[in-house]
């Protein structure tokens, strides 16, 4: 497998599982999950310091920058300008110029805004950022972003945190077929089988957060997703068999007295 790496913007990763760091009950739980996931890319958000909690270390204490690329997202931004400002703040804080572009205007389903996302992507690219945009499973938009120069596209499987799985399967399949950049299925993957299914379709990676923070045992669930993601990738490369309408005997069809 060491031949099969994920390459984004010229950088290589062995792991195809990205982890979001939200909603974990403790820094320990998060550390356990990251450790068990083997993930090399973890996402974080930026928010104002709460002056009433000066001792709050923030999330970085749970991440080992030697082993994980810290990918700041633009959650909370209401438009392209705020997204760019967030990306610059993250860069100023010493992170690499990578950004998960996330523009989700309404809070009920947190679905991405295709127009504003494309506009923000173009602005961020001008500023020299490596852009990984979170989008609807919209093949035409995915192609426009690729042409604009984004490093990946990150189509959703289902709404963030819904655990509904790959509800956009048909569209993801088309995006993968048409893409020349890595396709990372993000949002809605609630079980390892969902991650495996995305990888079997030919996705290059998956990003998971809620399914891990929801688990009773965060480390075990992270490990489960890591195995399922690799399993799906292995199967994609090993060649899945055709889906058949009828049976195909796995034992000889002859009656055993007919040799």
């Amino acid at each position: 497998m060491n031949e099969d790496y994920l390459e984004i913007a010229g950088r290589r990763f062995q792991s195809r599982l990205m982890i979001g760091t939200g909603k974990f009950p403790s820094a320990t739980a998060l550390r356990e999950a990251i450790e068990a996931s083997g993930s090399e890319i973890v996402t974080v958000a930026l928010r104002r310091v709460d002056l009433s909690k000066p001792d709050d270390e923030g999330i970085l204490s749970a991440i080992d920058p030697e082993r994980q690329l810290i990918l700041p997202n633009t959650s909370g931004a209401r438009n392209a300008e705020e997204a760019v400002r967030l990306a610059k703040l993250a860069r100023a804080a010493g992170l690499e110029p990578w950004v998960k572009l996330e523009l989700t205007p309404e809070p009920r389903y947190l679905l991405p805004d295709p127009i504003e996302t494309l506009r923000a992507a173009e602005m961020l690219l001008k500023e020299g950022f490596v852009v990984l945009p979170y989008i609807q499973a919209d093949p035409v938009l995915a192609k426009k972003l690729e042409e604009a120069g984004t490093a990946t596209v990150m189509p959703l499987g289902a709404p963030i945190g819904s655990n509904r799985g790959l509800r956009t399967r048909d569209q993801i399949r088309i995006i993968i077929e048409q893409a020349n950049i890595p396709v990372v299925v993000d949002a809605g993957l609630g079980a390892p089988s969902h991650a495996a299914e995305a990888m079997e379709l030919g996705a290059d990676a998956v990003l998971v957060n809620t399914a891990l923070s929801d688990a009773r045992d965060h480390g075990a669930m992270a490990r489960a997703f890591a195995m399922a993601t690799e399993a799906g990738r292995l199967a994609y490369r090993a060649g899945l068999g055709p889906v058949r309408d009828t049976a195909e005997a796995s034992s000889p069809l002859t009656g055993f007295l007919e040799a």
């Binding site: 760091t21 998060l30 958000a45 928010r47 104002r48 204490s61 809620t210």
Partner: protein, 66 residues
Amino acid sequence: MTITVNDQARDVPEGTSVADLLASLGLKPQAMVVQCNGDILERERYGATVLHENDALELVRFVGGG
């Protein structure tokens, strides 16, 4: 003199630097970003940057996110 930190007004002594302010707030400079009047302030300049009346500071840090 009066400045605002994350939209809250605060009185600080004349000559206070950004580093002084963070210290007085009990905040560690690392893993935090400071904007002063809309401009991002490099960390190495916290000590040298002296605050003036009506300066508006924005202090942000990283939190968990997906």
